[in-house]
Amino acid sequence: MRRREFIGIFGLLGLLGGATLWRHLTLFWRPSFGERTVQTVTAVTDLMFPGEGLPGATALGVHNRIVAMPDFHSKMTNGVDWLDRWATNQGASDFLALDEGARLAAVGAAFESDDDDARQFIVAIRYYGVLNYYSEPVIKAAFSYTGPPQPEGFPDFQDPPK
C-alpha cells in the first residue's frame, strides 16, 4: 500500500469511522476463491431457492454442486465481489451482513446491472440452481407427472390431469 493511500484511508477513518474502514480492508484482503466466496454463493443459492414448504436448495446440497464447477470459479469470484461492493455502498460490511430483503435487492441489482460479470453470475447461479434443484427426487416427488416416462408411459394421456 502506498503512503498516499494509507493517509487517505486514515482520512476516511475520521470521516466515516472505523467500521467503514474495516469493511473496505476486509474486501481488499479477501482471498480470490475461498471459504468466503463459497459462503456467499451458498447464501445466494439459498436465497434464490428457499423451498417454500419443501427443502431449500442448500439443504439438498445444490450449492456444493455449483461451487464444484471449476469453469465457473472466476465468474463466482467476480460476482461475489460485485455483491460485496453493492453491500458496502449500502453501509453493510459485505453481502453476508445483509438481511434477506437487502440480499434480494442486491441480487436483483446484480441481475439488472450493466456489469457483465455481475449479471452473468446471477444468470449462472439461477441456471444451474434451477436445473439441480428441480431435478432433485424429493422436489420432483412433490409435483405430479415428474417420474420417468417409461416403462409405464401415460395410459391417461387422453384424460384431464390427475
Binding site: L54, Y134, S135, F143, Y145, D159, P161
Partner: protein, 548 residues
C-alpha cells in the same frame, strides 16, 4: 490392392435413406454392405427414459455419434421482429448479438441415423410442393410427380407401420395408412377447440409410432419421449424397421464405426472404392460395384467435395442448401394440461401447407401441437424457462403453473438461395485430416415473411385455445438449429443444374447414387422429410444395377 467388390452395393450412411436403400436392394436379391460413421445404439441400455434423472438427459452421445460441422458467420438481423425474436420469460432473449446464432446442425451418426432421435412424424409431400418452379417460379421442380412416388410411400408406410388418419387433403393415397391414428392427447384436444374457433382443420398427425402391435414390435404407450430414443422399439426408427428388414434377408452386412473418408474414382466414369477410416488412423479400401451415398444434406456433399470434387461437374454440389424454417411458441393455460402425456406432435393443421396457401408469400407451412420439439420435458426445464426470477415468488409460481404449458409450432418451406450452401471449411479438419463441412445459411425476405405468418398463426391458435400468457417463443429468424436440411445434391433432368438424375444416379458417374434429402429440389411446406427420403430410396433401389 483388392479390386473385386465383395458386395453388389455399398451404402454409406445407415439413416432413413441408407437403411431404406439397403432394404430395397436386398429385397431384389442384391448383397449390400451398409456402413455408418457412428456406433450401434442399444435401446435397452442407452436411452434414458426409464432413469429417475431422465429429464436432465438428452438423446445419448456415444463415441463417434456426433459429427463436427462449422458455420459461416450468421446473417445480420435487420429490423425489429417482435414475433420472431427467440427467448423465454425465464431465460431472457436468446440472441443479443445482432446476428443470427448458428447454433447446431442436429444430426445423429449411428445405425438408424437421425431417425433414432427424431419425433417420428411421417409425412408425404404436398403434390404441388414438388412443382415449385413451374407452378410458382421459385426453387426447382422435382423431375417426377407425386403419382410416381406414391407406390413407394405405400411400401415405406407398410414396413414402418405408420399410424394416420383416413385422409390428408391434397396428398391422395392409393391405400390407407397401415394403422389407425393415435387418439389425440388431452392437450391436443384443448388446442383443437381453439383451432375449431379459428375455422382450422385439426387432425391426428401421421406418425411412425405404432398404434397397434406391428410385425413383432409393441404399440406405443404414449410416454412422450420419442426424441430421447424409444426403448420399446415402437417408434419407427430406421434401425428397427429398414435395417432389421434388410438383415432379415440374410444379404445385408452392417458395419458401424466406419467413417468413409474418400471415394476413389476409376475409368469409364465409374467409382471404384471407398476408403474407410479406423481408430488409430488405419485406412481400409472397400471396392464398390455400386456406391450409394446417404449421409444427409451436410455430409454427402462434404464427402464428394473432399474426394476432389467428385460428381461436381455442374458446380451444384453443396449449393441450394435449405434450412429448417421453424417457430415454436409456448404459453400458460389457466387449466392444467400436462401436455407431455401422449405422443409428441400428435395433432397437426395442414390448412396452410400448399405452396400458395400463405397470403403474399410463396411456400407453405404446417402448424402443430409442438409438445416435443420445445425440449420442455421436465420440471427443471419448466422452472427455468416458463417462470422468471427467483426466491419465494419463483417457487410459488412454479408450483402454481407446473403442467399448464401448451406449445404450438409451425414449420415452413425453406427456399434455396445462392447464399445458402455447404462447402469445405479451409481451416477445420477431422481426426483423419478431412475438411469439415461448413454451413452457410441465409434467410431471404420471403422466408422472413413466412416466419411472421407462422408466428402469428401459432399465437392465434394458443389464444383461441384459452392460453393466456406467452412465456417463450423461438424462431429460425435469429437461431439456426436445423434438423431438416435439404438440397445440396439436387435431383434434376439437366446435368448442368443438378447432381443426380431422376433415378438418383449421378449424371456422370454411372455407379454412384444418392438417396438422402440432399437430392430434394424443394423442401416442402413443413413436412417431416424422413418418409419421403425412404420412399425415394426404395424407388432408387429399384433402378440400381438394372442397366449395367
Amino acid at each position: 490392392m483388392k479390386s473385386v467388390a465383395d458386395w453388389d452395393a455399398v451404402v454409406v450412411g445407415a439413416g432413413a435413406g441408407g437403411a431404406a436403400t439397403a432394404y430395397g436392394l436386398c429385397q431384389r436379391g442384391m448383397s449390400v454392405l451398409l456402413l455408418d460413421a457412428g456406433p450401434r445404439f442399444d435401446a435397452a441400455v442407452d436411452y434414458p427414459l426409464t432413469e429417475s434423472e431422465w429429464d436432465t438427459r438428452d438423446f445419448p452421445e456415444k463415441a463417434g455419434s456426433v459429427g463436427s460441422v462449422t458455420f459461416a458467420p450468421g446473417q445480420k438481423l435487420i429490423g425489429v421482429e417482435p414475433l420472431l425474436m427467440s427467448g423465454s420469460k425465464g431465460l431472457g432473449r436468446l440472441v443479443t448479438s445482432g446476428t443470427r446464432w448458428m447454433e447446431k446442425y442436429h444430426h445423429v451418426r449411428g445405425i438408424g441415423g437421425t431417425t433414432l432421435h427424431f419425433t417420428g412424424e411421417s409425412h408425404r409431400l404436398h403434390p404441388d410442393a414438388m412443382k415449385m418452379k413451374s407452378r410458382f417460379g421459385v426453387a426447382a421442380d422435382w423431375p417426377f410427380d407425386y403419382a410416381e412416388l406414391e407406390p413407394f410411400y405405400v411400401q415405406a408406410e407398410a414396413l414402418i407401420g405408420v399410424a394416420g388418419p383416413s385422409a390428408q387433403g391434397a396428398r391422395w393415397r392409393s391405400r390407407g395408412f397401415p394403422l389407425p391414428p393415435h387418439p389425440l392427447s388431452y392437450a391436443a384436444r384443448t388446442l383443437g377447440r381453439g383451432a375449431a374457433m379459428l375455422g382450422l382443420d385439426w387432425q391426428a398427425n401421421s406418425r411412425a409410432a405404432l398404434s397397434l402391435p406391428w410385425h413383432g414390435r409393441p404399440n406405443c404407450n404414449h410416454c412422450g419421449g420419442c426424441n430421447m430414443g424409444c426403448p420399446r422399439g415402437d417408434k419407427g426408427s430406421a434401425d428397427v424397421t429398414f435395417v432389421a428388414a434388410a438383415l432379415a434377408t440374410g444379404r445385408c452386412s452392417v458395419r458401424p464405426d466406419s467413417p468413409v473418408l474418400r471415394i476413389e474414382a476409376g475409368s469409364e466414369d465409374r467409382v471404384t472404392a471407398v476408403l474407410v477410416g479406423h481408430p488409430g488412423g488405419t485406412i481400409e479400401r472397400i471396392p464398390c460395384s455400386h456406391l450409394i451415398l446417404a449421409c444427409g444434406a451436410v455430409e454427402t456433399p462434404r464427402l464428394l467435395l473432399a474426394s476432389d470434387g467428385l460428381a461436381n461437374e455442374s458446380g451444384e454440389v453443396g449449393q441450394n442448401f435449405m434450412d429448417t424454417l421453424e417457430v415454436i411458441v409456448g404459453a400458460l393455460h389457466p387449466d392444467p394440461q400436462h401436455g407431455r402425456r401422449g405422443l409428441p406432435d400428435d395433432a397437426i393443421c395442414w390448412d396452410f401447407n400448399a405452396p400458395d396457401a400463405i397470403p403474399g408469400v410463396i411456400g407453405g407451412c404446417r402448424i402443430y401441437n409442438a409438445s416435443a420439439e420445445n425440449e420442455l420435458r421436465g420440471l427443471s426445464g419448466f422452472a427455468l424457462r416458463a417462470v422468471s426470477g427467483w426466491g419465494r415468488a419463483h417457487a410459488q409460481s412454479v408450483r402454481r403453473w407446473w403442467g399448464h404449458s401448451l406449445h404450438v409450432g409451425a414449420i415452413g418451406e425453406s427456399l434455396p438461395n445462392r447464399n445458402s450452401r455447404v462447402d469445405l471449411d479451409p481451416d477445420q479438419h477431422d481426426q483423419f485430416g478431412i475438411p469439415l463441412s461448413r454451413i452457410s445459411a441465409w434467410l431471404d425476405e420471403s422466408d422472413v415473411g413466412r416466419l411472421r405468418f407462422m408466428a402469428a398463426k401459432s399465437r392465434e391458435l394458443l389464444a383461441a385455445s384459452g392460453a393466456e400468457e406467452i412465456f417463450e417463443s423461438y424462431s429460425s429468424w435469429d437461431w439456426f438449429g436445423a434438423t431438416h436440411v435439404f438440397g445440396t445434391c439436387r435431383m434434376g433432368a439437366d446435368p448442368a443444374t443438378s447432381v443426380v438424375n431422376a433415378d438418383g444416379r449421378n449424371h456422370r458417374w454411372r455407379n454412384l447414387w444418392i438417396t438422402d434429402a440432399s437430392v430434394f429440389p424443394s423442401s416442402g411446406g413443413g413436412e417431416a422429410p424422413a418418409l419421403t427420403i425412404q420412399a425415394l430410396s426404395l424407388r432408387t433401389a429399384e433402378k440400381i444395377g438394372k442397366d449395367d
